[in-house]
Amino acid sequence: MGIKFSFYVLLPLLLWLFFIKILEGTLFSFYLGDPFLALALVILSFKIFSFWVFLSLFFLGVFKGILLIGEIFWGVIFVLLGLAWEKFEKYFKLEGFKLKLILWSISIFLITLVNLFFFIYRLKIKINLELISSLILKFLVYFGLTYGWTLLLYLVIIKFSKLSYDKVE
């Protein structure tokens, strides 16, 4: 996964996702999930842990952070996620689609937890049962939508870049 792939596949996708996030608040008026995390997970699924991949991950995190709060925080979190995937690949070998699905679930779960900790860190009220139930619901919405994005982007990248499931030109 080099500059060519980043330029022809990742950049148009990123701009497309960015545009969807812009329209999210005005046109749709409801939360559409976290496509930046989804794109990061799809990139990691190709098991190539080069300098460009880590740079892409960092900037995907920065993009997520710019639209919210904590740009560098999210950049670092995404790079750490990449390092965790690399470590996992070294010991367990990323083979098969099923394993990818499981790894996506674990990654989204962990990032949702980070989101939750960030939320609780900023929260100024006491946490009660009502808030916990609302957080569980939000957790599920975030998880489900981001998982959907991951599957969609994975299929899009496979289709349009004519890649095999496990190889990248």
């Binding site: 960015f18 545009f19 608040g25 920065v62 710019i66 639209l67 006491k126």
Partner: protein, 276 residues
């Protein structure tokens, strides 16, 4: 991964965090937001404009199209006229909004800057908006953001947190890090209103003897030196006793501002009045 590579990534990350922290500490704004925001703010503006236009197009035309098939030429003419009318309506709405705001805001002696919301990232854990005015318009962090709530008065929308050259980032009153000193208009009891990333906000530290009831109006007290007194915030929905601190009551407040349909806001050019 070799130890050398791991050490290199760790070093780069530490350096980025360190430099980013210094940048934020000195300038109170993100380094990447400064650069990328400058590049992308026209895209946000056009995207937001397109979003609103598509929404109004859908609302104004698509529902009518199926009902008017009789004369294509006439329909085209009607659409053209409606398009113009829509444009004038938009201008009229903007004008009325500004007129209403300035009519009901003379008691606020601070200058105000009208701003369009260019980006509303929806997030289940935050409440953030981007506006199209920045440091070149005199905006500074912590300035209050207001909106007019019909004939009811001026209502608090949020607070500026990061200011860039031609755009700013603000948190809404529903954001979990937002807090404002408020007073119940009828009983004059003071409390602190806090957001929780939910449609309703929490009103805490109300005195135990407080006679606050649902439908009571909540306004800013001005005691926090950040927000001027008398700004409408919302109305009480429910009242209960604090579970852990028996000395206080708490309430849930529904903000008056319609955060979903918010398009134009006003930034009050007011810096915090800290007195010791």
């Amino acid at each position: 991964m070799s130890l050398k590579r791991f050490f290199l990534i760790f070093l780069v990350l530490t350096l980025v965090v360190f430099l980013g922290g210094i940048w934020y500490g000195l300038r109170k704004k993100g380094f990447f937001s400064e650069i990328l925001g400058y590049v992308f703010s026209p895209l946000w503006k056009s995207g937001s404009f397109l979003g609103w236009e598509l929404k109004s197009f859908y609302r104004d035309y698509l529902a009518l199209v199926e009902l008017k098939r009789e004369n294509e030429k006439l329909k085209e003419e009607i659409l053209k006229l409606r398009s113009e009318l829509n444009l004038y309506r938009e201008r009229e709405a903007l004008y009325q909004e500004l007129e209403r705001f300035y009519k009901i805001s003379p008691f606020l002696s601070y200058p105000k800057v009208g701003a369009r919301i260019i980006l509303k990232p929806m997030d289940p854990f935050l409440g953030v908006i981007f506006i199209d005015k920045g440091s070149q318009d005199g905006i500074l962090p912590q300035m209050p953001i207001l909106s007019s709530a019909g004939e009811k008065g001026l209502t608090l929308v949020g607070q500026v947190v990061e200011v860039y050259r031609n755009w700013s980032k603000a948190i809404l009153i529903t954001d979990p890090s937002f807090a404002v000193d408020v007073v119940v208009q009828r009983t004059r009891d003071r409390g602190i209103l806090k957001g929780k990333a939910e449609p309703l906000c929490n009103l805490e530290y109300l005195p135990l003897y407080s006679q606050v009831q649902p439908k009571d109006l909540i306004v800013t007290s001005g005691q926090d030196a950040l927000f001027p007194p008398g700004l409408m915030v919302g109305e009480v929905v429910s009242v209960s006793r604090e579970e852990t601190q028996g000395l206080f009551k708490k309430a849930e407040v529904k903000p008056w501002v319609d955060l979903h349909n918010l398009g134009i806001v006003f930034v009050l050019i007011k810096t915090p009045e800290i007195s010791f």
